[in-house]
Amino acid sequence: MATRAACLVCQIIENKVPSKKVYEDELAMAVIDVNGSNPGHCFVMPKNHYPILEQVPDAEIGRLFNISNRISSAIFESFGAQGTNIFVANGIPAGQTVAHFTINVIPRKENDGINLQWQPKQMSEEEISTVELKLKEQTKNLGFEKEEEKKPRIHAKKPVVLSDEEEEYFTKQMRRLP
C-alpha cells in the first residue's frame, strides 16, 4: 500500500470507508479500532499520508501526540481503565501493518492479554559503549523544523450514522486489514 488511493487509512479519512470517529480537525482524525485490543482502543492519525514517523512534520507530531494524550485522559475517565498505552509501530519489523502513520491509544486492565513487555538483552560493556557513541554522534545533529505550531482544538464531532449498506461495506473492508 504505497499510494494514497490504496491506503485504507486515507479512505477512512476521506469517508470512503465509514468509521466511528471520536475526534477530527483539519490535520488529524481519531477513530475507534474495530478490532481493538480492548474496548475503546483508538487510532490517531494525520490526515496527510505519511507512511512512517520520520515523514511527519514536527508541527503535526506535537498535535497528534497531544490528541492522543487527550484521548488517553478521556479513556481514564470514561472506561474505568487502570492504565493506558500510547503505542507506535514504525516499520514492518516493529509490527506496522498499514502504510500510514498511526498512534494507538489503548485502554488497559490487569491480565487483558496485551503484551508490551520484553526480556532484557544481555550486552557486553563494549557493545553498550559502541551503541552509546553511535547514537551520541547522531544526536549532535538534533534540530527542529521551524514551523508555526497550532494548538490542538478538541471538539467532538457528532456521531456518524451509518446505513446498513455502509456498515456491511465497512465490516468487509476492515477484515481486509492485515
Partner: protein, 191 residues
C-alpha cells in the same frame, strides 16, 4: 526499595499523610523518591544520548534491543496526562529524531514508541518516560496486541463514551494541574 518492607500500619499512615498533602507537596515528595529525578540531577549515573532544557535521553539498562532509549522529562511527572501541551509536543519531536537516528546510526529497521500510563499498562517507575526501541526482523521481541472483534454496537458505545469525555470532561486545567490524587495514590500504592 525501602518502602517494600513497611508494615500495614505504616502504609496506612503514609497514605493518610499523602492524602493531606497539597499537589505541590506531593510532587516534591515524589521527586525525592524518584530515581529518574536523581538521574536528571546527575546524582545517579546514566549513559546520556541527548539532553536539552526539557528532556534527557538515556540508554535503558535493561534494553529490549541494543540502543533502547528512555526519553525522560526533566520535570517530574508521574503520568502523561500531567504534562502541559508544549512539553508533550517537545518530547515527541525528540522521540521522532531519536527514531530517525536509530534508523541511520545503528542500523535499525524500525522503531517502537511506547508510553505506559499506570501499572496495568506496564509502568514501573513513577516518572513519565517514552521508550524508543530500535527494531529488526526476528529480534525476539513479541509485542502482542490481540485483536478482539467488536460488535458495531460496542464500537458505537465505546466511541460515544470517549466523545462525551472529550467534549465534557477534557478540561485545560486537567493537563496543567495534573492528574487527580487518586491516580497518583494508585501509582504510589504499589511502589
Amino acid at each position: 526499595m525501602a518502602e517494600q518492607n513497611i508494615n500495614q500500619e505504616q502504609l496506612q499512615a503514609l497514605q493518610e499523610k499523602l492524602k493531606q498533602m497539597s499537589p505541590e507537596e506531593l510532587r516534591e515528595f515524589q521527586k525525592k523518591q524518584c530515581i529518574f529525578c536523581q538521574i536528571v540531577a546527575n546524582k545517579v549515573q546514566s549513559r546520556k544520548i541527548y539532553e536539552d532544557d526539557g528532556v534527557l535521553a538515556i540508554l535503558d539498562i535493561n534494553p529490549a534491543n541494543p540502543g533502547h532509549t528512555l526519553l525522560l522529562t526533566k520535570e517530574h511527572y508521574s503520568i502523561m496526562p500531567q504534562l502541559p501541551d508544549e512539553e508533550i509536543a517537545h518530547v515527541f519531536k525528540v522521540a521522532k529524531s531519536l527514531s530517525n537516528f536509530m534508523l541511520k546510526g545503528i542500523d535499525s529497521h524500525g522503531t517502537n514508541i511506547i508510553v505506559a500510563n499506570g501499572i496495568a499498562a506496564g509502568q514501573r517507575a513513577q516518572h513519565f518516560m517514552v521508550h524508543v526501541i530500535p527494531r529488526k526482523e526476528n529480534d525476539g521481541i513479541n509485542f502482542a496486541l490481540p485483536q478482539k472483534a467488536m460488535e458495531q454496537k460496542e464500537i458505537e458505545a465505546a466511541g460515544d463514551r470517549i466523545i462525551a469525555a472529550l467534549s465534557g470532561g477534557v478540561k485545560e486545567e486537567k493537563t496543567e494541574k495534573g492528574a487527580s490524587l487518586d491516580e497518583i495514590s494508585k501509582l504510589l500504592g504499589v511502589k
